[in-house]
């Protein structure tokens, strides 16, 4: 489930509010809030769309988890999905890295 909006990085662009398919966030005058955490379907898409790497979705789908934001930042976990799919300038080549065709028919 979504666990973190890092207030240091967030620019209040509200992209996460718009893109979350299950409407987990609410807009505010500033940084959005996680208003309905229980509705999170752990799809990781808000994290993928956040341009500031300010979000962290924990892989635990059923229950909230305590997380250490400083450690996550330290380990560069924030934004790691975006880098892996090539949605950052340095990693654009990864957008065409799909090798599924080598795996099918196993």
């Amino acid at each position: 489930m979504i666990e973190v909006i890092d207030t240091e990085r967030c620019t209040a662009c509200d992209i996460c509010v718009n893109v979350c398919p299950t409407n987990v966030f609410d807009k505010t005058d500033g940084i959005p809030v996680i208003a309905r955490q229980g509705d999170c379907q752990t799809c990781f898409l808000c994290e993928l769309y956040c341009p500031e790497d300010a979000l962290f979705v924990s892989p635990f789908a059923e229950a909230p988890q305590a997380v250490d934001v400083a450690a996550l930042k330290e380990a560069a976990v924030l934004g790691s999905y975006r880098r892996a799919v090539g949605w950052t300038d340095e990693n654009r080549h990864l957008r065409a890295a799909d090798r599924s065709y080598r795996l099918f028919g196993h």
Partner: protein, 542 residues
């Protein structure tokens, strides 16, 4: 016609509601909905697309990504592609539809390449087009939908259909949940592309998929088919949402003590896993993937690794607990019955595409996941959009046409007992999640479950939502409930095991059931049988 307008409330657009006028309204903005919208717009229609979530991130494909039934048009390859699935599907497919879908998917996939989708190329430089990365694909589809001039309503779940005095679909109405008001779209034709029903099981990207489109269509009188083929369960880490089974073909499965579970496997041995899970925890480890395969896996499906990387598990070197999550009709094959090549349903003006529609035509009784569903979403979306645009054109002017609301559960006048969506959804889950009810079916257990589900329905159908927030949850839960009843009635009607439908009391296929099961109805759920589509079409051609 079951959909007379008798007793329906007359439409009036009150304050707090935004009204649109369109030729074609598309409900759902996954691959099927976006292809439908683009295709309708190309055929000259004014199109509105309403999505419950955000068109581009919402639905199963956006989160998960899909392999695609993309096959070179060489006749022998086509033949092999069709033949390979016929046995699995229990010989219920229709070759004519398979060929049509293969042709269409080839064209659409190549269209995606022209639009800039970054398909990879193999070592010989040949483009490889049988897999799509979900976020990338759906971001592109949103862009192309907008460029086609389609009006997109995000966070705008449809609640009910509108029909005119003669039962022809006339639009739909819903909520704008981030704006706190309602929408109404008066349209000449509607495409249902709201996906399947995964019963809020947290299967990747699927909690928006609660069967809403089925419920609205049924309220307008639509029929379903192959709903017994709806018991798809997928492997995921026990704690996580990532239900991707493909990579588990490199896995070994062990029990609590670390002993290999005999016969357990992702393909052809998943029922062994289901049985083992009833006894205790089951663990997987992807220990059969060599270093090169591991590299390809990481490059191909980054989201598969998120639950592992973020919990510090090395899935190749360590065991981790797994579970089977229900994916219902998202990776089953049942859905709205299609009556012609334009993907029309049994209700005039109503079209269906993607997982909302039956995929029996190309999958028979076996799962449409693993490439067929993606091909179907593209193809049926294209045809449904075109068909809806043509229907709208022929209908001509509709000035002065009256529209009647067709919604039932939760949409009366707020004088009934309160409808609690959350509680109702959990009650439905109790009937559809357990492996002993849904995975391994048997007449007595199905019958008992149906009695409980019918009881829930008679309560829910009298109830009303206390407010708009609860209204959406209540409608979702009611749609899940209706879906479960169509599933189990159809499952009772098929007294054999075929495709993915398994009956403990009839473990073998039985050729007396080489037909299709149709179902429908809300207060009274009915089933009937139809000859195979192939037989049906050849009759029609005579």
């Amino acid at each position: 016609m079951t959909n007379s307008s008798g007793g329906a409330e007359k439409l009036s657009s009150s304050a707090g509601s935004i009204v649109f006028d369109a030729d074609v309204l598309v409900l759902g903005g996954g691959p099927a909905g976006t292809w439908a919208a683009i295709s309708a717009a190309r055929h000259g229609a004014r199109v509105v697309l309403a999505d419950k979530g955000f068109c581009g991130t919402s639905g199963a494909t956006a989160a998960a990504g899909t392999s695609v039934w993309y096959v070179d048009p060489a006749p022998e390859r086509r033949e092999a592609a069709m033949a390979s699935r016929e046995k699995l599907g229990g010989y219920l497919q229709d070759r004519r539809w398979m060929a049509r879908v293969l042709d269409r998917t080839y064209v659409q996939s190549n269209q995606l390449a022209d639009w800039g989708y970054p398909y990879p190329a193999d070592d010989d430089g040949k483009p490889q087009r049988n897999s799509l990365q979900g976020p990338e694909y759906m971001r592109l589809m949103r862009k192309r939908t907008k460029q086609a001039g389609v009006t997109i309503l995000d966070h705008s779940p449809a609640l009910e259909l509108l029909v005119d005095g003669s039962g022809v679909v006339a639009g739909a109405a819903g909520l704008r949940r981030q704006k706190g008001d309602r929408w109404v779209v008066n349209a000449k034709a509607v495409v249902i592309a709201t996906g399947g029903c995964a019963f809020l099981s947290k299967t990747l990207g699927s909690n928006v998929l609660t069967g809403d489109g089925y419920l609205l269509a049924a309220e307008a009188g639509a029929e379903f088919t192959s709903m017994e083929f709806s018991n798809a369960y997928a492997i995921s880490p026990a704690f996580g949402s990532v239900t991707k089974t493909l990579f588990y073909s490199w896995a070994s499965f062990t029990d609590q003590r670390g002993s290999v579970i005999p016969g357990a496997s992702s393909k052809g041995g998943r029922s062994v896993i289901a049985r083992a899970l009833r006894q205790g925890p089951v663990y997987a480890q992807l220990d059969q993937a060599d270093a090169e395969t591991q590299r390809h896996m990481r490059a191909s499906q980054p989201n598969f690794f998120l639950p592992f990387d973020r919990t510090g598990i090395d899935p190749f070197a360590q065991r981790f607990p797994i579970t089977l999550r229900l994916e219902g009709t998202v990776r089953g094959t049942g859905g709205l019955r299609i009556v012609d090549d334009s993907c029309a349903t049994t209700v005039p003006g109503l079209y269906a595409a993607g997982d909302a529609a039956t995929r029996e035509l190309i999958c028979g009784g076996f799962t449409g996941g693993g490439s067929h569903n993606a091909a179907w979403a593209m193809s049926s979306g294209y045809w449904a959009g075109e068909g809806a645009a043509e229907f709208a054109r022929q209908l001509g002017t509709t000035i002065g046409r009256q529209a009647f609301r067709r919604g039932t559960v939760g949409l009366h006048d707020r004088s009934g007992p309160p409808l609690h969506g959350g509680a109702l959804a959990r009650s439905v889950q109790d009937e559809v999640f357990p492996y002993e009810l849904n995975y391994f079916r048997e007449a007595g257990r199905l019958g008992d479950s149906l009695r409980r589900l019918d009881g829930l329905w008679s309560e829910a159908s009298r109830a009303d939502a206390p407010d708009d927030q609860e209204l959406l949850r209540g409608r979702e839960a009611a749609a899940m409930l209706a879906t479960a009843r169509w599933m189990y009635r159809s499952a009772l009607a098929r007294q054999e095991s075929r495709g993915m439908h398994r009956r403990d009391d009839y473990p073998e296929p039985d050729d007396r059931y080489l037909h299709l099961v149709t179902t429908g109805g809300l207060d009274d759920v009915w089933t009937s049988t139809r000859p195979l589509a192939s037989a049906h079409y050849s009759e029609a051609a005579e």
